[in-house]
Each structure stands twice: as structure tokens, then as C-alpha cells.
Amino acid sequence: MPRLMLLDSNGLIYRGYHALPPLTTSKGELVNAVFGFCSILLRGIQDLQPEYVAACFDLPGPTFRHEQFAEYKATRTPMPDDLRSQFPKVREVVAALRIPVYEMQGFEADDVIGTITRDLDARGGIDTTVVTGDLDMLQIVTEHTRLMTTRQGVDSTIYYDPAKIRERYELRPDQMIDYKALKGDSSDNIPGIPGVGEKTAAKLVGQFGSLEGIYERLDEVKPDRLRFKLVEAREQVFASRELSRIVRDLPIALDLEACRLSDYDRSEVVRLFREFEFRTLIDRLPPLTGESALDAAEALRAAAGTVAAARVAGAPGGPAAPAGAPGGAGGASGASGAGLWTRRAPRDGRGQVGGGDGLQLSMDFGATGLGEEAPPDSGLTPVASRPRAAGGDGATGSGEPADLTAALRAAVADPSLLDRFDATAEDAAEAAAWLSGRSEIGAALLMDDPRPMRGMPQALALAGPDGRVLVAESHEAVGMLGGILLASGAMVIGHETKPLVVANIAGGAAESLPVAFDTQIAAYLLNASLRSQTIADVAQERLDVTLPPAGDVPPSVRVGWMRSPPSRFANRSRRRWPRRGSIGSSGKSRCR
């Protein structure tokens, strides 16, 4: 059954504000409530894997409850400014995630949620989880609508379904308002009956079924003292119950399709998370589906910037004119790479895919077409001579690198553009045909351990200037696709290419992977004093381009946001993107 996650945004924001230490950004802005909200939102997405998400908010201004009951929430102090200022930030995140917002003037988020869940319960066919910060909504719980809330800060979650409510209170969900009317709730300024606590309230409601039941059979209530108090508070308890009764017939209807969790503005979310300095939250994000494939594509995209670096590095007159293609280039013939990148012995556990330091990548622009133009804004001279694959036809493919970069950008922004490569003869033949027609191909290899002979390939992504991005995820598929790549006679141009060459040797390939150009070496030759020559360092120094740190990539890179399989496989339901981790367990493996 499809799943919907409904956010009681205000409740979560309050909860974060009160339960979390005062986290501030380096600029001194308090963001603890925003953090709490984002944290539990992402936790919910990870744990529940919902197909649909919607957010409900209170609107500022008095509600019908204030109008009907002067005392309602009267004990609450006005909202502190440092909490108020966090609301727009939460709304920004929600907007960037393209989660639709439901709210209604004069009513609280609880009422909106109550209305939506009542409607969905009536229609059936969907499981709803309301993510909230308190237990006011226990009354709307049904077999298909449950509550998720947090205990102790925002770290551990607890679910309330009818069974759980029965276990804890020995009551039905619809009895919870009667219970609360007797017990009282100081935060809502519901007085309750003096001397009646949780136990007595639950016992009374359990025994008589409802407030009505209690007052109909008052004479059965013992001891006398309790009976007198009940008589005295009669009006008040019925009023209290109405106060906490959630309105469920607002003129609101949920547009389920609009809530589908799919495309979202990832660059904007990343920007916001950076602005709020939610690095740990970002890092803690669990993988949902197909993460390593998209990570590889993302790494490739990041590396695309260094193609320009290669051109800069190869500028004539510099000390580092690109070396000619190594001997035997282009002679990587036949299917000798059959064993490429495959290692059968599985490592224990998943390693640390996507953890940043396990990332190795390389780019292959086919060596025949580095492009003629210098990066437009570099002010540097274009490359005069380029390495060429032996027997290459010299096709320059001018303009293609830019297209390739654009393709990668598009694929990362919209994962449905990714093509999945499976280790089948059919896919292999198709990939070989595709590769043979390309003058340049970008490649990114994701390893779980960058050290020689110890790492296992996790994913391989290839990108063509035609806008296609092909990804292989299993060891078998990576090995096969790598073999096809090698057999195509491609030459490698990349940044820190050595691990790729080692992986090739480790895979038992007869031919060495020919490296035509390595931007890291080039960058080193240009400035040997730079302590670190990572892609990000070099892109920053040479191109004035800031690449996302590896650790920042994951949140935006979840293919989990993608719910439809890649278009090419749209009609093959078996080939869904694998779903990583199961509910409740996947989070742990990523927690650091």
C-alpha cells in the first residue's frame, strides 16, 4: 500500500526549539528548530520511504478555539523572536523539497491533518503517518493512520497505532480526548480535574467508555471524593473535550499526486543546508536508493570542471606540455579486459561508499577531442596540441565537452535521465555500440577503499556528450562495463588516474589502461607547492570554481527522490532501482 507522510510542521518546530540545544550558525542565527524539523523530516523519509509527503502549518492569528475559549493556550507566552525567525527558514526548505503545504486561516495544523486523514481513511488504499511533536493527535489514529513522534530530543522515534495506544493507555484512539479532558494539559491550558492524573483518567474512561458514560453512571464512580469532583467539573470537562477535539471537516482536499516525492530543487536544498550549516545532518543522511550510482554521476559532474583544467594545464609555453600518448595507446584490443574491475571475494559489510574518502574517479574524454576552446573566463590560451589516440581520426568534437558537462548536470539534477547498465548480453552489446560511436566519454569509478589492491569497485558511471549517462552498480556490471570501455580503445584523461590503472591491473586485465592526461599531475607541475591537489583544490585554484565537498553531495544526490524507474526501463518493472537498507536499520549504518 502506498505511504503518505504528513508533517505537523509547527509541532516539529516547537519540539526542535525546546528539545535541542541552541544551535546557531557561524553568523549567530539560531537554527535549532530548523535543524530539528529537517532532521526528523529526513529521518521520516528514510524510515518510512513514503511515496507522498505533505506539510501542514498553523497560520498566525487567532483560531476558532481562541474565540470559543478565552483561556485556550492563555498561559503560553508569546512566541520568542528567535523561534519566530526560524519559521521562514523551514518554509524555504519545504519549498525547495517541493513538498506541498496545507494550511487554513483560523485553524491549526492539527485540524488540517485531521481533515485530510479522515478523508483518506474513508477513501482507503493508503497508509498515512503523521509526524508530530506531541500526542494531541492520538485521537485520529486508525488502522491506516498512525502517529510518529520523537523521544528524547529528536533522535529516537516512536509510532502510535491503535495497538500501541491500547498498550499504553488501555484506551481506543477516539477516547483520548475524553481522557485528556479529565487529566488536563497544561500546555494548552486545559485544567482537568484536580487530583485526577493519568491513571485515574485512563481508568475512568476505560471503565465507562466516554465522558457521557461516566456522567450517566456517576453513582458507580468510587470513591465519593472523585465523584464530587466530577460533578463539580462537569461543564468544564465537556468544554475541554471540545477544545481538544480536532476538527475534521474543513473544506480542504489533499491532491495526492501533487505530494509525490520526486523531483526537487536539489541545488536549492543544498544551498539552504549550507547556509544553515547543517553539515552533520547532511552527512548523516541515509542512502535511499541507487545512491552509489548517482554519487558516481555526481563525482563525474564535479570532475567535468577539470577538463577545462586539463586544457589550462596543457597551455603551450608552460612547463607542462602534455606528454604524448604512451606507447601502445589505442591498442587495447579485443575483450582482454574481461576480468576488469571484478573481484569476487566480497568484503564484509558495505564499506564506506560515498563516504568521501573512498571516492576515486577518472575521466575519459577519448583523447581525440579535448575541445579547442579555453574556458571562456580563464583568460588562458587554448591548447595547441592534444594527445591523440593512436589511429585516432583526429575528430575534434569541438563543443562536446561543454555538452558533456551539461549532460552530467542534467542527469544529476534529474536522476530519471540515468541509464542503468545491467550485466546482460543485451545491455553489453548496446553499450559497446554506444561507446564505439563516441569520441569522448566521461567516466567515474566509485571505490569503497582507495588503497591499491584493497578497494572494491562500487559503481561506474559513463557519460556521453549525447546527454546519456550510463551507470553500473553491481561488481559484475561494473566489471563488464569497464571491460567494454577498455576494449573500445579509449584513453583515459582524468584527475588522479592511478587508482583506475591499479584497479585495471588488479582485475587481471592483460592490457594496461592507457592514460593520456592526468590533471592532477599537470596541476602539480604548475604549482608544486599546493599541499593538496584534489579535484576541488585544483578547480578552485585554476578555474575559480568551487566544487561541492564530497560529504555534501549525498543529500542532494539521493535517487530515492526518484520514484519512477529510468525511462529506458520504464516498462520493465523488475528493474527497479534497488532500495538500500530497510526501515529502521539503514539509518544506523550511516550514523557516525
Binding site: 612547463p319 602534455p322 606528454a323 604512451p326 573481484r343 571475494a345 582507495p450 588503497r451 591499491p452 589492491m453 584493497r454 588516474t497 592511478k498 590503472v501 591499479v502 585495471n504 591491473i505 588488479a506 594496461s512 589502461l513 592514460v515 592526461f517 592526468d518 592532477q520 599531475i521 596541476a523 602539480y524 607541475l525 604549482n527 608544486a528 607547492s529 599541499r531 591537489q533
Partner: protein, 417 residues
Amino acid sequence: MPLIPVLAEMEAAGVAIDREALAKLDVEFGAEMDRLQSEIYLDVGHDFNLGSPKQLEQILFYELNLPKGKKTKTGYSTDASVLEELKPAHPMVGKLLDWRLYSKLRSTYIEALPLLVAERDGRLHTTFHQAVAATGRLSSSDPNLQNIPVRSDLGRRIRRAFVAGSPEVTLVAADYSQIELRILAHVSGDEHLRDAFARGADIHRETAARVLHKEPADVTHDERSMAKMVNFGLAYGMSDFGLSSRAGISRAEAKAFIDNYFATYSGISYYMLQIKEVARQQGYVSTLLGRRRSIPELRIPALRSAGERMAINMPIQGTAADIIKIAMIRLPERLRAAGLKARVLLQVHDELVLEVPRGEVDAVVPILRETMEGALKLDVPLTVDVKVGDDWESMKPLTREDAVLAELGEVPAEIAG
């Protein structure tokens, strides 16, 4: 870039590790550390935690009342440089330094190496970095081979764990002899130095003789070793102060020796002046092969002397690095062309370590020697000493010339350490 596949092959090949040797070393090191520890306890009069800088500070400066040096945030520093100076003041200081060295080597190599061995082939695959050291030298990690102290006995013992992978193969190591001095002779054009190398003379004895105006035969052992320190120390920017403390002579004596040295080897003095000027003018220096290193430090007064040292050092060290890289690129091709199965495993400092089938040693050595010595044509000959052995510690010089060269090339422990 042509070095990438070579390094990749080396990384993939890895080197065999003798776990039993490591276990033995662990016991040996442990026993030595225990011995040092009890001696230190006796010296101090009570037990304490040798690894705790705080307790050590208390003992050195308050119990033994040794002179206090640098201050740190929490108290007086007990780092190596401070202890080095305190060494003559109390016997426990030297023992403590030894203990620290044992402890360091034990944790970074003896205990760590077995963990770095790859499961699939039981070998150790280090990672070589081309783009880290600013001079152009290679560096390595997991483990960092460059950090195994070569010239000290302890470091050599670590090398015992690096062994030939099977009974059918053996290790062959080839080390450039005095390559930096030879490059200095070439770039400075100093006639005395060139001449000495051309004749194959004992360069340090020759230096001592020239500086002290003696016949080479009359040079004492101490004089020769002082000359050796100067020869090697120059590129590191050794001062009269440095020489005096290392050679155990007065600062005035050291200054006189250095002044005389530069007067005698005028080509070297001229080179040093000239390279600093070049660096200042163009902002960079380059190796003989044209690889550059920019030296922005020269423009910052506080860093100028460090910058000047880099300017003097980089063309020499960097050229040495270029030379061994050329050899590394050519060597596998030539070995393959000759139908040999020998392969290069490691590169450390000026040394290459190969794994060679026993039957191939005689065929490999001439190719190895010729490739390394012929990597770059200089005005003075490049020479390589070759050793063979089943582990990296107990390597035997292949010829009498190799033995002589090995001895000549030895960097004094005071400098190398």
C-alpha cells in the same frame, strides 16, 4: 604522466612482508623499551608514565631541574628538539629519546604493517604520491616508506620485514650514490668537485684535505666526517651553529671550516648566490629538466631564509627526483624487452627495490645499472650501488665497487635522522 602506469604496476605488485620477522621485532623492541624504561626509572628514582608529556615535564624541569625551554599552552615543551638539547644534561634524556623512537617505530611499522597487508595476495601495497612533495620527490603512504629511518640501526631492522615474495625470487636494491652532490657538481660547475667525482675519489676525504690544506692521506677520521657533514648539510642550509653542535666543535671552528669550504669551492658559493638571485628575479627555480617550483616565500621577509634554502635545494633534490623517475619509466620497458620477469616494487629516497627471479639477477643488474646511471647525462658520472638479498635489511653489495660506493654515499645519521 608516463610514470603513472609504472607506479600503478608497483602499487599493484606490492611487496611481501615477513610476519614472523615482525613478530620477532615486536618482541625485540618491547624488550629494549622495557630495558630503557627501567633504566630511566632508576635514573629518575621512581616510576612514571614515559608517554605522558605532563609527567615528563614535571620530572625534567621540577625534579631534575633541567633548564626549561619552549613554553606550550599547558607548560614547558618536552618535544624532540628540546630533549635533543637537554641530552648532555642528564643520562635519562637520551634514553627517553631512544624509547620514543622505539615506541614510534613499533606503532607505525611493526604493529601497523600486518594490518596493511592485502588479504588477496598477502602483500603490502603502498600508495605512491607524485603530487605531494614540492621538490618532485615521490612520497608514499600506507605505509610511508620514506619515514623508515634508513641510516639508523633501528630503521634498518624494520627493513628486515620486507622480503622476497617466494624462494624463487630475491630482492635487488639499487641506490644512487651521492646523487645530490653530483648534481651540485654539475649545476655549479665547480671544478674541484667535478674533478674529484671524475677521478672517483673519496669525496669527503678530498673535501677535508682541501679545506684544511692537508694531503688526503693525512685527513683524520673526525676531519673526514666533518667534511661529510658539510657536503651533505649544505643543501639543507646547514649553519655554523648546526655544524658546531653536530660535530662537537666550537662555533668559531665551525664557521672557519665553512668559510674555508666556500673559499675553496668557489663554484658552489657562486651557484648559491646566483640561484638565490634567479629565484628572486623570476619567482621560481627549476630542475635541470625544466620542472619548476615557485618560491613566493622570498617575497616575505620572515620566510626569506627558508625560501632561500628551498631555492638552493630544489634544483638539486628535484633533479635527483627527475633522474630516478626517468630511470623508473625506462626500466620496465627494458626489462620487458630483454624478456625478463623482474619487476620494480619500491622507490624510496634515491633507491629502487626490485623483485627478481634468482636466475635473472645477472641479467637484470647490468640493465638496472645502465638505466639508472644513464638516466641523465651530467658532467660528472652518476653511479649506482647495487645490492642483493632476500630481505631489505641484509642486502649484500654485488661488487667491491658497490661496497665502496655504498659507504661513500652514506648520509651521516645526524643529518638523515
